[in-house]
Amino acid sequence: MSKIVKGVKKGLKKVGKFVKKNWKPILAVAAIAFTGGLATVGFAGLKGAIAANGILGGIGSTMFAGATSMLGTIGIGSGAAGTAAAAAGMQGATLMTGAAAQAMGLASSGLIGPPTAAQAGSASVGAYTGPGSSFMGGGGSLLGGSSQAGQMVQQGVGQMTGGSQVTGGVGQMTGGSQVTGGGGLLKSLAPWAIQAGGAYLANRGQEEADRPKGLWGVDFNGDGFEASQPWGAPNYANPGIAAMRPGGRMPGLIDAGSPYGG
């Protein structure tokens, strides 16, 4: 049974003639829910989700959890600029918010770094506009330990800024041309994150755009934008911040100060 999971993708393409038409989407759902659930929430999670929301609802929850965990998309569209991008029809941008958030969260492990220009592409507008989602994007692990959580995020952001050569301003980053260094996991994350941000999020883009945005949906200033980040993370959503300095902080952060000594 060790190979029992493999190969469903090609199979789903060839079963069209073999099974009744209505089965094909169900098979896709089953395969994706299975892989997403197994990789993310496990059997206990799936079982609990089904108990709470019924079979179909539980499967949907598992799929969502899998994608969220994989892409770091909790807080999808929570960044103000990410929301704007979504509203402007830049599908995928908000999802990249999550991907970048995951990168930021995991950067403390040294496994990943920011995307290269080629991977970031135009979708990087979302990637660098929603740091507010980075906590959640990093997954439950970041929230798993009280004081450590903030520390991890701070380290993650610090490593990201220190280890990268972000030489452009927000506009340049949007173009994806000035973000260098790093790579790692995000190299593989970026292309599929961009694609995956399409149809699934398209129908949610406008809905998200209509909501007040901020850290975990909290609009601290009441202006629809995120507040300054307490851990000293750069607020990419603020177009007034021109550039992130290699190895250092952004001007706005110095002004804002940081509870961690920034």
Partner: protein
């Protein structure tokens, strides 16, 4: 006939299969020489051969057993029984095929086989008078319940998790996930359920509201942010 399958017996897959099913479908059909041809056949031909064997089994040797199980299950336990029975049959088929063609035992083969197996079993259920008011709902729920059973079986296997992780990334990359998520949302609407349960349930899975530690950290950070603004 032994081992009547009911919803009260969901762990039947753990039981001695010999007590549950009268014969192995792959021992009954196809014959050994057919096994060889099965390996050489194209993918779709392989599926058809195995599906034919399962059909012959369900409508032949196992019909009485299946009919009794379905009748006992009734409408209330139909989905659980279909899922458990299908999984048992698929397990038997995959184990049998794995002996001679292990590369065949993959999810791409087993999922479509599961689909047709469920259809065959529903045919028997209807034949014995079990009402199937909404075929699509029953098909969906049975297969998804079967996935739950399968996950319970392989969920702790790190190798399977690693494979699943890679496959899931591919689904996210190639658009399969989008299609499937859209389908689930639409079907939830069709069933009169709120599609937002996907998102809310997913968030709950990853960051349970009951986790007070997480909530405390989150609130603390929010408080700090508030002080900064």
């Amino acid at each position: 006939m032994q081992g009547v399958l009911t919803v009260d017996n969901p762990d039947m897959i753990q039981q001695d299969q010999a007590n549950q099913m009268p014969a192995d479908p792959m021992q009954a059909q196809p014959a050994p020489q057919d096994q060889a041809s099965l390996i050489d056949a194209s993918d779709e031909e392989q599926l058809e051969l195995m599906a034919d064997a399962i059909s012959d089994y369900i409508h032949g040797d196992a019909r009485e057993h299946v009919a009794t199980s379905m009748a006992n299950a009734g409408e209330e336990a139909l989905v659980d029984t279909l899922a458990a029975m299908s999984y048992q049959i698929l397990t038997m088929v995959s184990d049998q095929v794995a002996k001679s063609a292990p590369e065949t035992v993959t999810l791409d083969v087993l999922l479509p086989l599961a689909a047709v197996t469920i259809d065959y079993l529903i045919e028997v259920a209807e034949a014995v008078g079990v009402p199937v008011p909404n075929m699509l709902d029953v098909q969906e729920d049975s297969l998804l319940r079967m996935i739950e059973i399968h996950m319970a079986k392989v969920g702790d296997d790190p190798e399977q998790k690693a494979i699943a992780d890679e496959m899931f990334k591919e689904y996210l990359e190639d658009g399969s996930f989008d299609d499937a998520a859209g389908y689930v949302q639409q079907r939830l609407k069709d069933r009169g359920q709120d599609p937002s349960v996907m998102e809310e349930g997913g968030k709950e899975l990853l960051a349970p509201k009951q986790n007070q530690l997480s909530a405390g950290v989150q609130q603390g950070l929010i408080d700090q942010s508030g002080g900064m603004s």
